[in-house]
Subunit: 455 residues, 2 copies
Amino acid sequence: MGTPSASVALVPDDAGHDATAGNFYDVAVIGGGVVGHGIAWAARQSGRSVALIDDAPGSGASFAAAGMLAPVSELHYREEGLLELMLESSRLWPGFAAGLDGSAGNPGDPGDPGLPGGIRQTGTGTGYLTTSTLVIGADAADRRALTDLRTVQQSCGLTVEQLTVRGARGREPLLSPGISCAFDIRADHQVDPRRLLARIAALLAADSRYSAVPRRAAGLLWEGGRVSGVGLAGGGTVRAEETVVANGLGAAGLAGLPAGLNLPLRPVHGDILRLRVPAHLRPLLGSTVRGLVRGVPVYIVPREDGTVVIGATQREDAPADGGSAGDAVSAGGVYQLLRDAQQLLPAVAELELLEATARARPGTPDNAPLLGRVRDRAPDRDVGGLIIATGFFRHGILLTPAAAEICRQLLDGTADPRWAHFRPDRFSAGSPTTSPRDTRTQDTRPRPEHSKETV
Amino acid sequence: MGTPSASVALVPDDAGHDATAGNFYDVAVIGGGVVGHGIAWAARQSGRSVALIDDAPGSGASFAAAGMLAPVSELHYREEGLLELMLESSRLWPGFAAGLDGSAGNPGDPGDPGLPGGIRQTGTGTGYLTTSTLVIGADAADRRALTDLRTVQQSCGLTVEQLTVRGARGREPLLSPGISCAFDIRADHQVDPRRLLARIAALLAADSRYSAVPRRAAGLLWEGGRVSGVGLAGGGTVRAEETVVANGLGAAGLAGLPAGLNLPLRPVHGDILRLRVPAHLRPLLGSTVRGLVRGVPVYIVPREDGTVVIGATQREDAPADGGSAGDAVSAGGVYQLLRDAQQLLPAVAELELLEATARARPGTPDNAPLLGRVRDRAPDRDVGGLIIATGFFRHGILLTPAAAEICRQLLDGTADPRWAHFRPDRFSAGSPTTSPRDTRTQDTRPRPEHSKETV
């Protein structure tokens, strides 16, 4: 690979009128979701100067995400390859949250059931909570499916404790007496993605060696056979030693990707509800509830602020007319979420509906992320200056600390071989070359080395 | 009655700093919902100068209202006394809409089934449509209930045509084949309350003898034993020959109401959904559908712009905690609306949910409005300068032209005896007096007669 696959006419920036002009960063991050912000945060923690480019940060899939950190209950059949990365990221979460909170987390703490509602206030800045997760089945078929899944989970070395229905209702008195089974997963926690993103953004905003560039990235710049930064829609550039593509579904639409690089991202829509628990029903739940209701998943995530998040729907069908694209909330999806959530927790009917949101997540053919550098087959080396970090699908929030850590290692020139099978070029074929063919995307001006840091 | 029942400390306005200072209007209308705007419009049409006082016009029950103009299908048992007013207002609607549109309406036209979807474009400014209404039952018990209701409707001289299920589905192909019965009511039409309100407000805004006062009314001013205008929250006054209290549930909370006047308004909450019909499903419906599903009403109102409104829930229970009051959307209500609407029209599942809204409507003990002047028993005459127009409950949009016409007649000094039983003091008892007891609410400054019009 190598070489831009598409061209973009970039207007040279004008040093007199563009705030980004003349600046050179160690790292440019394209995409201001949770993953992009996490990578920017890690890059700054490693001493690098960082620019994050997004004209609407936090408005994509991160805006909808429920924030379950659930390597165990999110284990899917035939996705065991992803499990190691999910567990690694889960292990990184307490330190990641503590670094953002300025207070030490408590890795591996399963939550203190003695506190009211079982809610542990482990982090005020990000909403990170080590409350456990109850997996609940509605009918006998759901019980069989969840019992089978537990066998797979246990065979992977994961701890899933079966509870009696009475035991589950002792912990969560508002659960329906009609549920068929309950499992306790202490390792599956939660964070509030909107608070998390706001927290990282606030910390970075106070940092003089960080720039938030409120513009849309149009494409990659190339210079001397390597990526040299980002061209902005409407003109202007951000030049950088390394560019990280972390803009979710938007990644595939960037101009100047290496020729032959195929980023097979597909939108997977999800509806999600935010509801307010009236005072007389608080706490509604002390644990996150993940249910299977007649074979259909639904989750109910209680927040510290007295709200709950209900979600689970996945729609892979493209909207029939393009008018509203991925942000259209499906009436049938909302109906199904409320129906199934009420079946597990009848009090859901008494909640106040605050918000119904839909967003598309970036799915990949194997449901694993596209994460790493891009191989250039002739010469056989990685494309310089470029890291891809997208395709996190349902796991973007959970995988943020791991993605941030992996990117930091790649910036350092090291790469953990455990993650090699997530390389972003694994679905690509072609006849690559490193020499830029289209000079319109080249940035040929002298690089202002004076503002560049040693990394 | 007479005499303020409560006092409010009104800061005298400062002619140098208050836009309303020194102004005197023929009519002050408290409340900027559809009813208040309709009354203001009629008062201006009669040549009177008008001030409309509301700090958030159009944000109350009018914001949620579906806009069904349905005297026939809204007929309830033991509410036959209201029917005459509803029919009168229905007769006034075409002229009222035409006056706002600047184009002649076509009273009594049942809609042209030859147009696509049966939608008649009778008014572009207000969304007034003379499409008919289909009443649909889901199961056998619903069929019996609707058949019984039809007997009552017919005994009142109303036309309700029974259709076969096949006939109904011929007209509305997306209706479920599982419905139990269908009735066509050609006299029940619709308007878009938000467009209607915006249309009236825009016409009035261009009128030099109209003032929109973006302030909250605190109470009534009294002078010489009659109401002389409105005191504003935070200070200032609007003085007027006649004051119309049309602020819905807020009416009972006004200071300075006549002593002994009891306005027994109760909030009746309703959830309402607005959805977008994807292009491949348009037109979803050509008629408004009012259903009874296992005894529970639901309506689906198709708009010209490709959206539909789904509503029907009524909750009389006050929210358990006061946090969100009447604007809290009930998750159970939304679930029930989507469930029941899908039972009649399965394609509802494929719609895009745009908005879920809840508002409280002003209910009264007999579900009829509080409309007219207030009787002062000693001396036996009406309180001067005061008209009450609230308590329209589910019928505020339908009854707007009638309320406006009745108010105009009262301003003219005439009163149609047919509407005497809607007098706002019918639930009141007490020992009235006309002499103001509390001088703090008096406006004792000389009235600037120069700005007053002859009416």
